[in-house]
Assembly symmetry: none
Homo-oligomer: 413 residues x 2
């Protein structure tokens, strides 16, 4: 009988890369000093992972669904519901959820600043959020929450809603806000609600004291709410329903938290966990240890700094983010080495030379005290290709960890 | 932002092989001098490809569907429609198409020569084709076209047709032509049409001048048309519909051209491109360069000579065909190295020791200027097994090339 272990997964966002000329053709993982990752690679099993499937460039949301053990093709609800869940809203089957953001427009609906100056204090956000409170349009309840900067999430709760509508956000300053149109006849009502909601947001926001104060300070007023990324929450079986497991997510970004909640995971807060290079690595490690010792069956740790560095074409910062994550993993293993099956990987490749997600598979290493070793000695894109996992799909990783952790039942008898 | 590149695929038909005793246990790829392939292998990623799936011996038609990015299990329409498209006929959903060939029979329907002497001038072919022109059986229009030798293709156009009928071709000289029988009740009409068509072909062909002249010269007359390989064109989304891409096929054989047309590719003609060892390799390379420079998103090059050599158990000829293809690839890369993501592979294994298709996976190498290298240095069945692509399915290759070429959208956000 296998001892019951916790399945732990550490994901460096955009961690995969390509050869970088300024590193003499090495990848950031090859150039980084990663003694802890390399110990996992030496003792464990490495491979390359197609997070979704060969040739498919993963989005952040679909990638995480796969890493949580779900087929994104059949379970992806669109970005809106995941953002909404991450922002602390409820989103249930039937609801339609959106990413929302404050913008500045002229009375003729021409957008002057899609981000309404971008900077918002949490007091301003709270005041703006309050002004939109309690909206009810034709029996459809509107739930909005402000998150950070000009951003927020919005859920429409009611009957007969559909996410199949066109965009209202013109995605460019100087253009008029668009009319939402139904893409299917059943979406007529939702399109109407959204169009009225945009107008109502203008009516409620434009005269607010907070906006007068912003204008006095020379900052763009937040006088309208724009919506994008509509999606409808699907009926998905939670991880608890599928495997009978308790799952924790340690992440700084709303999207990752929301995607985890969508499949029934608990968000475990870590003081100082952010999406930046200065996130509280030690605090994350200590909280992960607590989750593992506290009986969570699956603990997922998301580190965003690698991806930010990639988008900024900042090689040094990416290497630093990798090295800090390596140290964090070392801190976890020092305490609970004998209690975990752990995977270290990435949710997609974001080459620093490209600055965007690409379809290249990502390296993965899986370690448990009892695993057969392979010939891979370092955790890099190049070494992982020689590992015993060969090529693995993203959605197969969690079942693999749970299998090794003794959390799943034999199939058949 | 990834530069937009063209996805190029070079397929050596039957190019995969097994160890050959007369080569001291080497495969033809190992014995051949292939500096260009080997440069791709050294700088790119190799692997083994199950063109359809493990253990399945691919046909030429199903293999190409997979290489064009389609699941042959759900999209293969049978051989007939693909041959018909390749022969220049129209084949649309609802039609039933066949491979057709002239044969010689006695008045009692005993086949004397299934190939009617095999040799036909194009004038003879045209005269025979004309004699079968305009046939209409019970409202079903018959379209026949002669291609080469005794061969042709035939399409039945009409309502309520089905491909589910038994064969009329006895597949052996000295046996009687068979009655087509319906395999399902709905195929009764089609079976009747086919049976009447066979008789009608005899009535129209037997007395022709061209047959009298053949008999005078001691050559078997083409007095009946045999049909085989019935298939019904399916509703498949074209590559343009699926990916928004323009695709070109450079091939000498009707089947490859027809399969490419079935998925919406353009056949780009090359002067002197044939299925033989003397095909115009330089001309193919130059036309491929033209297609790449001209903005095609996917360019597929088919080389048949490797397969012919394999079927003839001709090791030297196979090595020569490989070396000429290698040179052709070098000529292409000399001109458009910075504009392509290229794969070199085979559609199936045809060992020269066997002379028939087998289920062995084939080697594949994928190269792009930015790809992570692996430890494979040569393009052979043995070296490819060490490559970073590990094992890949045929239908995953095109999406992979398109992903690297920047032709596909991110899935999710």
């Amino acid at each position: 009988m296998t001892a019951k272990l916790t399945a732990a997964m550490v994901v460096m966002d955009g961690g995969g890369d390509r050869p970088v000329p300024e590193l003499g053709g090495l990848t950031p993982l090859q150039a980084a000093k990663t003694p802890n990752f390399d110990r996992l690679a030496s003792q464990g099993q490495s491979g390359l992972m197609h997070v979704i499937s060969p040739g498919v460039t993963p989005g952040s949301d679909t990638a995480h669904l796969a890493l949580f053990g779900y087929d994104p093709v059949s379970t992806y609800p669109g970005r809106g519901p995941l953002e909404a869940l991450g922002a602390g809203l409820q989103s249930r089957p039937g609801d339609v959820a959106f990413r929302a953001n404050f913008a500045t427009m002229n009375p003729d609906f021409t957008v002057i600043d899609r981000r309404a100056g971008r900077e918002f204090t949490s007091e301003e956000g709270a005041a703006l959020q309050k002004a939109l409170d309690g909206l009810d349009i034709d029996g459809v309840k509107v739930h909005f929450v402000h998150t950070v900067e000009h951003r927020g999430a919005l859920v429409l709760e009611g009957k007969g809603l559909s996410e199949k509508i066109t965009d209202v956000d013109p995605h460019e300053d100087g253009k008029k806000i668009l009319q939402a149109e139904p893409l299917v006849p059943e979406a007529r009502k939702t399109a109407d609600v959204v169009n009225r909601l945009i107008r109502l947001s203008y009516e409620r926001l434009r005269g607010l004291d907070v906006n007068k104060a912003r204008q006095k300070r020379g900052i763009a007023p937040a006088n309208v709410l724009l919506l994008r990324g509509p999606g409808q929450h699907r009926e998905v079986a939670t991880l608890k329903e599928r495997f009978g497991i308790r799952c924790a997510v340690l992440a700084g970004g709303a999207l990752y938290i929301g995607t985890a909640k969508y499949v029934g995971m608990d968000h475990v807060k870590v003081q100082g966990q952010t999406g930046t290079i200065d996130t509280n690595f030690d605090g994350i490690a200590d909280k992960a240890i607590e989750c593992i010792e506290g009986g969570y069956d699956y603990v997922f740790i998301h580190i965003k700094a690698t991806d930010n560095a990639s988008h900024d074409h900042n090689v040094k910062q990416k290497i630093l983010a990798i090295e800090r994550t390596d140290k964090m993993v070392g801190r976890i293993l020092d305490k609970v080495r004998d209690r975990v099956v752990i995977a270290v990987t990435a949710d997609h490749t974001t080459p620093v030379t490209v600055g965007e997600h690409t379809c290249d598979p990502v390296p993965i290493v899986i370690w448990a005290p009892f695993l057969r070793p392979d010939s891979s000695k370092r955790f890099t894109e190049i070494d992982a290709a020689r590992g015993a996992l060969h090529t693995i799909r993203g959605m197969d990783v969690l079942p693999t960890l749970l299998g090794y952790a003794g959390k799943t039942e034999k199939f058949g008898s």
